[in-house]
């Protein structure tokens, strides 16, 4: 049986704009896109950071603004703000990680010329020391700009407080991930990742409070539930998993996601911001330690090395790679990842998807066939 806190978080994850309509009365809302905008700064400025995760609605408004072959993440993000929720936001801070996001920033800015707008120029390499310093520098710039926007400088104390709240949030989510891994019957993959999703939208302290309740409940429940029996362990690789019904399909075949490198999960919850030294350096320190993200250049073998490590460390049986159609970054990685996994004898299932994929029947058939023939599950 679900407890109230869990139900509330799931509702927020699935209908954030309805459930959080009141937020606007309390704080100005700043939307940002995946990945790597240091939300801690927005929070410290007394603003509400809100991560934009697109819409699964059919594309109507953004089609005329973008080329046919833009990825659905970009399309559906723009669709969401241009078509539906533009008024929800007071401003935007968008990060640039690839050509699509770089130029999307320009289009977005033009469409919302009356909103506060900042580019966050995250380093597109983490291969060398300059990247870390540049990330810190961008954090300093953003801190200053946010201060100008609110008319109030962000103090170091504001920052340390924000870092603590965010660190706690990440720690709670990691803890819950650990329990879910061990006791998959406790909650479905969909539920767990929805819980994570809720943090992108909600007030962090509120999320922490609800999460603590969920954790208490999880601790109590886990002893009464069976362990791994009947489940198979898998790693999810990619950027985001959309539409979220993909998690439902994995739940149906009793897959237990035990690790991931998603921007919408591990990249968000792993590693804390050190609570000492210079605050911008502290944010940079966390940044360079994050799991590998396809468009950000690093050791070129990390595209599979990190996955192999995760797979072995977590004792997984397979890797599911969520491939966003027209994401050229993933397009370049995938063939080499597949070859390497084949060499290593690791079964990998590629699931190509778009935010607007509504008919999952075909994916379901593929998934079931894979489980039967490759994993030997009936």
């Amino acid at each position: 049986m679900r407890i109230g806190a869990l139900t509330k978080l799931l509702e927020v994850a699935n209908a954030p704009y309805d459930r959080l309509a009141d937020l606007k009365k309390k704080k100005r809302i700043i939307g940002s896109t995946l990945a790597d905008v240091p939300e801690e700064l927005i929070y410290a400025a007394g603003l509400h950071p809100f991560l934009i995760l697109g819409t699964n609605n059919p594309i109507r408004y953004s089609a005329a603004l973008l080329p046919d072959n833009s990825c659905s993440l970009a399309r559906s993000n723009l669709e969401l703000v241009v078509g539906y929720q533009g008024d929800f936001f007071d401003g935007f801070i968008l990060s640039q990680v690839c050509d699509t996001t770089q130029h999307l920033c320009d289009i977005w800015k033009r469409k919302f010329s009356d909103h506060y707008f900042e580019n966050f120029l995250a380093p597109r390499q983490v291969a060398r020391p300059s990247a870390r310093d540049w990330y810190a520098q961008e954090c300093r710039r953003l801190r200053k700009e946010l201060g100008k926007y609110t008319g109030k400088e962000i103090t170091d104390d504001d920052l340390w407080r924000s870092f603590r709240i965010y660190n706690e949030n990440r720690a709670l989510l990691r803890k819950l991930y650990d329990i879910k891994r061990e006791v998959p019957a406790l909650m479905t993959n969909r539920e767990f990742f929805d819980l994570v999703k809720a943090t992108f939208f909600m007030d962090k302290e509120e999320h922490n409070r609800l999460l603590r309740e969920v954790l208490d409940w999880a601790e109590q429940q886990k002893g009464h539930l069976q362990g791994q029996e009947g489940y198979f362990k898998l790693i999810i690789a990619g950027i985001v998993v959309e539409p979220p019904n993909i998690y439902d399909l994995i739940d149906e075949v009793k897959g237990n996601i035990v690790g991931d490198n998603l921007c919408s999960a591990s990249r968000y919850i792993y590693h804390d911001v050190p609570l000492e030294g210079d605050p911008a350096e502290a944010l940079a320190e966390r940044h360079v330690r994050k799991p590998h993200f396809s468009p950000i250049n690093s050791d070129v073998e990390r595209i599979y090395k990190d996955l192999l490590e995760l797979y072995r460390e977590k004792g997984a049986e397979t890797i599911f790679y969520i491939h966003i159609k027209y994401c050229e970054s993933q397009d370049y990685d995938l063939p080499d990842i597949k070859v390497r996994m084949r060499q290593e004898g690791i079964p990998l299932l590629e699931l190509e998807t778009e935010y607007q994929t509504t008919h999952l029947a075909q994916m379901k058939t593929r998934l079931q066939a894979f489980c039967e023939s490759v994993l030997g599950r009936m």
Partner: protein, 413 residues
């Protein structure tokens, strides 16, 4: 003056010179290791001066791909890499290149394998990912020169420059490690002078399009830009562009235009459709129209300030290339070309190969048409893959557009 006439005077024409320099350059690259030199792959927009001053020969897989595409090998090479699991949505240069790596097919006997890779993302992000594939394949280092978008904020620009300069220092250290040789900054200073001179002459050549009628078309620019792409930083490039400028000046002085009765002076947005190059030229010519320029060909008209630290002027020039500025600034750059060359029409191509240049073109068109009052034709296709090119549709649309221009002209607009 015809090529023959030039030869008779014992002086090579620019065209001949280009052929000769290209052959020598490729020969040099092919025998690099025998002469204690190295081969580095790099992007067309990148601080190649650092290589030239350090006996590292830059090779541009993009240029090789252009050769493949103009020889209409694009589809065949793409299909070879599609069989290996890559998609047909990628940049046609990358597709041709990866196809070449699989099949070995090339219209020019291939290019030597790399010892080092440099991708500058002021040009595009694609090259980073494409070179990551090559880096894994050849087990050679890849250096990504990361150039954050050149946003219009003086404070941010100062910091961006610092980050870029710091990376150029990192690049120099990587080159020293590759070659085991200490970097020679005096040589770099010399290379910078050649690069500055060649770039200025190249720009002068492009600016000949301001003459009425124009003695050059964009197709000339596309052919003649090759040398500055792969030989800037050398005295040969300076000599070449001087020869070219002299030749074109002679035509301009005589009032010789590329298109007789030139009526429409057009802007082209994006890279060319390489395999349609000639057809487009001829179609336009029949209407008295000539495409004069694009931001793309201007990407190499750098303005190096040799009174500055070389790394600083390199960083400044490369980070601010048109594909890395904001949409507003890019529109301003295009509008400046409209003014300088008295343009009265524009063809705006959305190239599915190239998100870097194409992504915001719908918006760019809005800005440009609003500011100039000149209608523009916009169409989607691919620069290198005929499978994504609809002959009748595009031809009909270009013709209809030219007829619109004719109507406007008749109405005295």
């Amino acid at each position: 003056m015809s090529d023959e006439a030039q030869q008779m005077r014992g002086k090579m024409s620019a065209k001949e010179l280009s052929r000769k320099l290209t052959e020598e350059y490729l020969q040099d690259a092919r025998t690099a290791h025998e002469h204690g030199k190295y081969v580095a792959y790099t992007t067309a927009v990148s601080p190649v001066e650092l290589f030239v001053a350090h006996d590292v020969i830059p090779i541009y897989p993009e240029n090789h791909s252009v050769a493949c595409l103009t020889k209409r090998m694009g589809t065949e090479l793409s299909m070879a890499m599609e069989k290996k699991g890559y998609t047909s949505h990628l940049c046609a240069y990358a597709r041709s290149d990866l196809g070449y790596r699989i099949t070995g097919k090339s219209p020019m006997g291939g290019i030597p394998d790399p010892d080092f890779l440099l991708a500058c993302n002021a040009q595009c992000f694609t090259l980073t990912k494409w070179f990551e594939v090559l880096s894994r394949k050849y087990k050679v280092p890849l250096f990504v020169f990361d150039t954050p978008q050149w946003i219009r904020d003086p404070g941010a620009r100062k910091e961006i420059l610092k980050y870029c300069i710091r990376q150029l220092q990192e690049l120099i250290a990587a080159l020293e490690e590759l070659t085991g040789k200490k970097y020679d900054y005096d040589r770099l200073a010399e290379v910078m002078v050649y690069s500055r001179d060649a770039s200025l002459l190249y720009r002068k050549f492009l600016d000949m399009a301001a003459y009425k009628p124009s003695p050059i078309s964009i197709f000339d620019a596309l052919i003649h830009m090759a040398i500055t792409v792969y030989l800037r930083g050398t005295p040969q490039a300076v000599h070449y562009y001087q020869t070219l400028v002299d030749e074109v000046q002679e035509k301009a002085d005589k009032g010789i235009g590329v298109v007789e009765n030139e009526r429409f002076r057009l802007y082209w947005e994006n890279l060319p459709i390489w395999f349609k190059f000639r057809d487009h030229f001829n179609l336009l010519k029949s209407y008295g129209a000539n495409i004069l320029t694009s931001l793309y060909v201007h990407a190499w008209s750098y303005e190096f300030d040799i009174s500055k630290d070389p790394l600083e002027t390199l960083a400044e020039n490369y980070v601010s290339v048109f594909s890395n500025v904001t949409l507003e600034e890019r529109a301003d750059m295009a509008l400046e070309l409209f003014r300088r060359y008295c343009l009265n029409g524009s063809l705006m191509f959305i190239n599915r190969s190239c998100k870097a240049v194409s992504f915001a073109v719908y918006e760019l068109k809005d800005i440009i048409t609003e500011k100039t009052g000149v209608p523009a034709l916009i169409f989607e296709s691919d620069m290198g893959d005929p499978r994504f090119y609809s002959e009748t549709q595009i031809r009909t649309r270009i013709e209809a557009y030219l007829e619109t221009l004719q109507r406007r002209e008749a109405e005295g607009v």
